[in-house]
């Protein structure tokens, strides 16, 4: 009984410490999540889709792209490779968190499962106050962020059908989002070799292979180029900020 109480207060204290860190994400995820839900609704999917996808995928970029993939013809290999490429940065979040997640016991699988960009950057950088259980702190950060995204997407999916204004052009939200992330990457680098490789290779493959089948060759070419030009690229990356 006593032990149980202690455990509960540890969780409570950690929640109190974690919540303020997630407030900016609360605003962002509700907005983006709702837009995503409305976008799915406008693309002809019931709210069940964004709801389930926010639970099992929980990765904004990929969930937006998945709408496009659900609207195209069934292409399992491309879907899997595309997911891995879009989410590849998580490999490095994982490497960065190898130590931090140690000793978190039963919470560890969920900490890894739910490690989106935002949860990673909070858990990686936040100074956890002394006396607050770090496992619980990181668990709350992760769970709260997923809750915000879940609520936003589901609400968007539900409210989408109530929207009376013309939603034509709403799909541009995905383009705008990627332009912003790309720009952020661009501003972080001194030289822009990899950014230019990404744009040039994709454009070339799009012209050669066409809109429906350019992704696989693009991904293969990007990996080849990064391997072949590793020396100069690696040199150009020195001095750039580390990826967040």
């Amino acid at each position: 009984m006593k032990h149980h109480k202690k455990k509960r207060s540890a969780a409570g204290a950690a929640l109190k410490a974690a919540f303020p860190h997630t407030i900016p994400i609360l605003a962002g995820f509700l907005f983006l999540g709702m837009t995503y839900g409305i976008y799915m609704n406008a693309s002809g999917f019931s709210f069940v889709y964004p709801m389930i996808m926010s639970l099992v995928i929980f990765g904004g970029s990929l969930e937006f792209v998945a709408v496009q993939m659900l609207l195209s013809t069934f292409a399992p290999l491309q879907t899997l490779l595309m997911s891995v490429m879009i989410q590849a940065r998580h490999l490095f979040y994982g490497i960065a968190m190898l130590d931090k997640f140690k000793g978190t016991g039963a919470k560890k699988p969920y900490l890894i499962f739910g490690m989106c960009d935002e949860s990673f950057s909070i858990n990686c950088s936040a100074e956890i106050p002394e006396g607050v259980d770090k496992g619980w702190f990181m668990l709350w950060v992760t769970a709260l962020n997923q809750l915000y995204w879940f609520c936003g997407s589901t609400l968007g999916g539900l409210l989408g059908s109530l929207i009376t204004f013309n939603t034509e052009g709403l799909d541009f939200v995905m383009t705008a989002m990627f332009v912003v992330i790309f720009l952020e990457q661009w501003l972080k680098e001194r030289r822009h070799y990899t950014a230019l490789i990404g744009v040039a290779v994709s454009t070339a493959c799009l012209l050669i292979f066409g809109a429906d089948s350019f992704l696989l060759p693009t991904m293969a070419c990007i990996l080849c180029m990064l391997t072949v030009f590793r020396k100069p690229i690696e040199k150009s990356l020195e001095g750039s900020d580390d990826p967040k």
Binding site: I52, L70, P76, I95, G169, T175, E189, A195, V199, I233
Partner: protein, 108 residues
């Protein structure tokens, strides 16, 4: 796409994501250093991948007909300008999207 194809597509997205999230914990240990090629890819890939995703979003734009890609071009310029000015993702995304919706609904 049939319902079962949709379920497989969503499951594959989840599987791809989980692969990238769990793999480091299965393969690497915090004691051994990460292979250099892996950490190189970690730095080099994101800019290239997001460049690819921007192109992917624009894959159906036809520069030869319709709006000739002008609504896209103008709205992307708005996104970039807003972002360089405020550095607030939500403002940039919302501003660019509203701009695009107005352009395709009323102008082009």
């Amino acid at each position: 796409m049939t319902l079962s194809q949709q379920i497989v597509t969503i499951a594959l997205c989840a599987a791809g994501t989980m692969l990238t999230r769990f793999l480091p914990f299965l393969v690497f240990s915090s004691k051994k250093p990460t292979p250099r090629f892996v950490s190189y890819l970690g730095k080099a890939l994101p800019a290239a991948v997001f460049g690819m995703l921007v192109v992917y979003c624009l894959k159906n734009v036809n520069v030869l007909s319709g709006g000739h890609g002008l609504p896209e071009l103008i709205s992307i310029a708005v996104v970039v300008a807003l972002h360089l000015w405020k550095r607030q993702m939500l403002i940039s995304v919302a501003g660019g999207t509203v701009c695009y919706m107005l352009l395709v609904q009323f102008v082009f």
